[in-house]
């Protein structure tokens, strides 16, 4: 018995130059905001960019993009991602309308398989993946389904996020998955020596993003958020690596 969906994934991803997963372990450290902003920054730079929300149980990139509800993507020999703010965009919210969706291991594995097998992304310079927290089903399944992937890691200057961060780093390194680098998010005053810790873990330190008190004001307003100091900081960080 063969699952033919696995076989077609390579072909489906062929027209994408770089697939960048945003991860880092802990919950609530800014993965979703950073992945969404990264996608928008690259798009503003003239690139063809896709954004896939892989947090199937708590999707949030659509909120950052100001989309309360999402229509069904078009069907054309597969599914064609939505166009949201110039991004090729896909989220489970199209199908769940933000109802609770209690998915467990097997369900997640199948949902990822199905999405990757039937989505026609077309030509993209970048596909950005927003991952859920932790070393869970999504991260593990992703590594099973494709090796054409690099990781952009996020952590905060806190020993609590560090614990999970370092486990993700070890997992990726054991499997020889490229890590673009790590950035420190939500820096208040001090970075408490976490730059050095990142470097000594063998990961490139990309820079820091301050804690922006006013960020909430810009959630759901993708145009306005692009003029903020946070986006400027992130642009500088990403310039050399993406």
């Amino acid at each position: 018995m063969i699952d033919p969906r696995k076989n077609i994934i390579k072909e489906r991803l062929e027209s994408i130059k770089r697939i960048v997963a945003v991860s880092g372990g802990k919950g609530g450290i800014g993965k979703s905001i950073i992945s969404t902003l990264t996608a928008l920054i690259l798009k503003d730079d003239g690139k063809n960019v896709g954004l896939l929300d892989m947090d199937f149980t708590s999707p949030s990139t659509h909120i950052i993009l100001g989309q309360e509800k999402l229509p069904f993507p078009k069907e054309e020999k597969g599914i064609i991602p939505l166009n949201i703010d110039g991004l090729s965009y896909l989220s489970i919210v199209s199908y769940t309308q933000d109802n609770p969706t209690p998915l467990r291991g097997e369900d997640i594995t199948n949902a990822i398989l199905e999405l990757f097998a039937i989505t026609r992304w077309g030509n993209l310079d970048y596909l950005i993946l927003d991952l859920p927290p932790g070393i869970g089903d999504v991260l593990l399944e992703l590594l099973v389904l494709t090796r054409k992937i690099e990781f952009l890691l996020v952590t905060t200057p806190s020993s609590l996020s560090w614990q999970t961060f370092i486990k993700v780093v070890r997992l990726l390194k054991e499997q020889n998955i490229p890590i673009i680098g790590a950035l420190l998010n939500m820096v208040n005053s001090s970075t408490y020596g976490f730059e050095e810790k990142i470097i000594s873990s063998g990961v490139r330190y990309l820079g820091k993003l301050d804690f922006y008190r006013d960020l909430e004001r810009y959630i759901g307003k993708p145009d306005e958020i692009m003029d903020t100091a946070m986006v400027k900081e992130l642009k500088d960080i990403l310039e050399d690596v993406l």
């Binding site: 018995m1 063969i2 033919p4 020999k77 769940t96 609770p100 969706t101 209690p102 998915l103 039937i118």
Partner: protein
């Protein structure tokens, strides 16, 4: 019609397999489709035959057999077991369409008829499998 992309997956996989086994002709592909996938069999068959036409003599006259596997769900809270008919008969068109795209969102639209829980196990009837591939060897 994402049946097309699934049909492509089936044909590519079957041809890969047959070539690895050094078959000279692919005579039959037996496919099992979970009912939860909500695939339109007519469209799926049509897509399969159109895609096969592009692949030359190797797959000329390849027979396609499709078997649908009934969905069986089991509630993780109370243990109740129920089946596809009870699910799809009461769903609206939009809900069915959502499940057709992404079967796992059944968890959003289906509840245990006995206790109302959405935490259930899909015991069978999802996914897409190639059960067997038959061909000639020279």
């Amino acid at each position: 019609m994402h049946e097309w992309s699934l049909a492509e997956a089936v044909v590519e996989t079957a041809i890969d397999f047959a070539k690895k086994k050094q078959l000279t002709k692919l005579t039959k592909i037996k496919i099992r489709v979970g009912e939860l996938q909500q695939i339109e069999e007519d469209i799926f068959r049509y897509a399969l035959s159109e895609i096969l036409k592009l692949k030359g003599d190797f797959v000329k006259d390849t027979e396609i057999e499709i078997e649908e596997e009934e969905v069986v769900l089991k509630c993780r809270i109370c243990g109740h077991v129920w089946t596809g008919k009870e699910i799809f008969n009461i769903l609206g068109e939009d809900d069915k369409e959502a499940i057709h795209f992404l079967p796992e969102v059944a968890h959003t639209y289906t509840k245990c008829p006995s206790c109302g829980s959405t935490d259930f196990e899909i015991i069978k009837g999802r996914g897409l499998y190639i059960d067997s591939i038959t061909g000639d060897k020279s």
